[in-house]
């Protein structure tokens, strides 16, 4: 079991969600996050007072999938979320030790 954490542009949430649904990914958690990578941020000016905003809003999608599905899922997210400009985001994949469905107490892959 792997956790796929994809950080994408906020306007890409709906297409990424549809792409994951089409692959049969059972569930996901979506968070509004702020951060920066290569993209340097923007400068806002209010009556001449400048605020350098170096943490930009992004969307984090977390989904836990079977090991065999990881490649499919990450490819799909990359494909729909890519614009080619700086600020497209990143995907992190990590191992998940255990999953427990609270309602039934099921564990492991059955609980995905």
């Amino acid at each position: 079991m792997k956790k796929v954490e994809a950080i994408v542009r906020d306007e890409k949430l709906s297409v990424a969600k549809e792409a994951l649904k089409a692959l049969g990914v059972a569930g996901m958690t979506v968070t509004e996050v702020k951060g920066h990578g290569t993209q340097k941020g923007i400068t806002e000016v209010y009556r001449g007072r400048q605020y350098a905003v170096d943490l930009l809003p992004k969307i984090k999608i977390e989904a836990v999938v079977d090991d065999k599905d990881v490649k499919k899922v990450t490819d799909a997210i990359c494909e729909v979320s890519r614009t080619g400009s700086i600020g497209d985001g990143k995907i992190f994949v990590s191992s998940v030790d255990e999953i427990i469905r609270i309602r039934t107490g099921e564990t492991g892959e059955k609980a995905i």
């Binding site: 806002e44 000016v45 209010y46 009556r47 001449g48 007072r49 605020y51």
Partner: protein, 442 residues
């Protein structure tokens, strides 16, 4: 007959009886009275408008505090006005301040007249000016003034600064007698509040850099500016104190100057900073409203456009450059917009005032007549705004030190870091979480 027919017949009979008994007081013009009562309501609405204008510009953690301070002026300045404010401003007195003959509105009856309107109409109209003048100052103190200090400052300042300056110009004091022109309050309202804001923010001191935040809600600033623009027609066209052609004239020049200044401010920042902003548009509109205030019953439409350009450019650079250069922490630019805008308007009144609007007893300003009369008027205008700046600055320093010595002026650093909404009021401006973030205590 149905019940509704009886109601109609009863209404008709009552109307017939009441029209027999209602009579116009000698000298009261019902049209004038109706317009000034309407204007009073318009000007009163400017104070909530100002609350939105300032609230939107505040940091998200001080937004309630800012709005509440402005509303507090409606509470305290209204009552101060009835107790002694009106008397000190408008009753018979000396060159400096009015007397105490109408304390508690004593002796004013529904039959009392002020010109062609009821004296109570005049009391109401002028009350709304006193309220907004105090409220304007509070934009300078965002995020660092004790609420109790604010509650003490409002009646003290209204008494020590607003009432005398109002008497100077409109209540029979020296400025009005000398012929200094101020149609609707460029000196009384705007220079007065701008100079007071400078004094108060100097006594309060600067905010910590980390507590200077971007505006919490820019669309709300636009809403506030819209309400101010709307209410200002009562402010300027109502200051004619009659429903006549000159009131309509004041309406037109007010709108024209405001429109010009709003766009001019946007153009300035577009050239200077590269991008036009909504905050700039709203600020420019208020700067234009301020600048046309002293001039509105005296200048022609083309003069008002030129005043609008001067206000847009002048107030933009006063807010963006002058504040940074001089280093005072006037949070929401009360000095830059109201102090400088009022000064531009008071000066420009001497340039553009015209007999075409003022009638044969009026004055042709310097740019209209190119004569000694215009130069003389310009000198008077300078005397008017310089003395208002000086008096308001010094008297406000005194009031601020009195408040500082009694209840204290400034909040603690911890309160400022938390934000005054939570630290002083226990109330957040925005609660947007759908999930419960606390437990309900019954």
């Amino acid at each position: 007959m149905s019940r509704i027919s009886y109601v109609f017949i009863l209404m008709f009979v009552l109307m017939a009886i009441s029209s027999q008994t209602a009579w116009a007081q000698d000298g009261l013009d019902t049209g004038d009275n109706a317009w000034i009562l309407t204007s009073s309501a318009l000007v009163l609405l400017m104070t909530p408008g100002l609350a939105f204008f300032y609230g939107g510009m505040s940091s998200v953690k001080n937004i309630n505090n800012m709005i509440m301070m402005v509303f507090l002026c409606m509470c305290l300045a209204s009552v101060q006005w009835v107790f002694w404010g009106y008397s000190l401003s408008f009753s018979e007195g000396n060159w400096m301040i009015g007397g105490l003959s109408t304390v508690g509105l004593h002796g004013i009856t529904p039959e009392s007249l002020s010109g062609t309107i009821s004296e109570y109409t005049f009391v109401a109209f002028q009350a709304t000016f006193a309220i907004i003048t105090v409220a304007l100052i509070l934009g300078a103190v965002e995020g660092r003034m004790k609420f109790g200090a604010c509650a003490l400052f409002i009646p003290l300042w209204a008494t020590a600064v607003y009432d005398p300056v109002c008497h100077w110009v409109w209540g029979g004091g020296w400025a009005g007698n000398l012929g200094i022109l101020d149609f609707a309050g460029g000196t009384v309202v705007h220079i007065n509040s701008g100079a007071a804001a400078l004094a108060l923010c100097l006594v309060l001191g600067r905010r910590k850099a980390a507590n200077i935040r971007p505006p919490a809600n820019v669309p709300m600033i636009a809403l506030g500016a819209g309400l101010l623009w709307f209410g200002w027609f009562g402010f300027n066209a109502g200051s004619e104190l009659a429903a006549d052609g000159r009131a309509a004239f004041a309406w037109v020049v007010t709108n024209t100057c405001t429109a010009t200044a709003a766009f001019t401010w946007v153009v300035c920042e577009w050239i200077h900073r590269g991008k036009p902003t909504l905050l700039g548009l709203a600020s420019g509109a208020v700067a234009g409203l301020v600048a046309i205030t002293p001039a509105s019953g005296f200048v022609g439409p083309l003069g008002s456009i030129q005043i609008g350009i001067m206000a847009g450019v002048g107030c933009y650079f006063a807010s963006v450059k002058m504040k940074a250069a001089l280093g005072y922490d006037d949070a929401l630019d009360v000095v830059g917009v109201h102090g400088i805008g009022g000064t531009i308007g008071a000066f420009a009144t001497g340039l553009y005032c015209t007999k075409m609007v003022m009638g044969p007893d009026g004055v042709d300003g310097f740019f209209i007549g190119w004569g000694a009369e215009g130069i003389n008027q310009l000198g008077l205008q300078c005397l008017g705004f310089l003395s208002t700046w000086a008096y308001a600055f010094v008297a406000t320093l005194a009031v601020a030190y009195v408040v500082k010595a009694t209840v204290g002026l400034r909040t603690t650093e911890e309160q400022e870091n938390t934000g005054l909404d939570l630290a002083l009021h226990g109330e957040a401006g925005y609660c947007l979480e759908t999930a419960p973030v606390g437990n309900l205590k019954s």
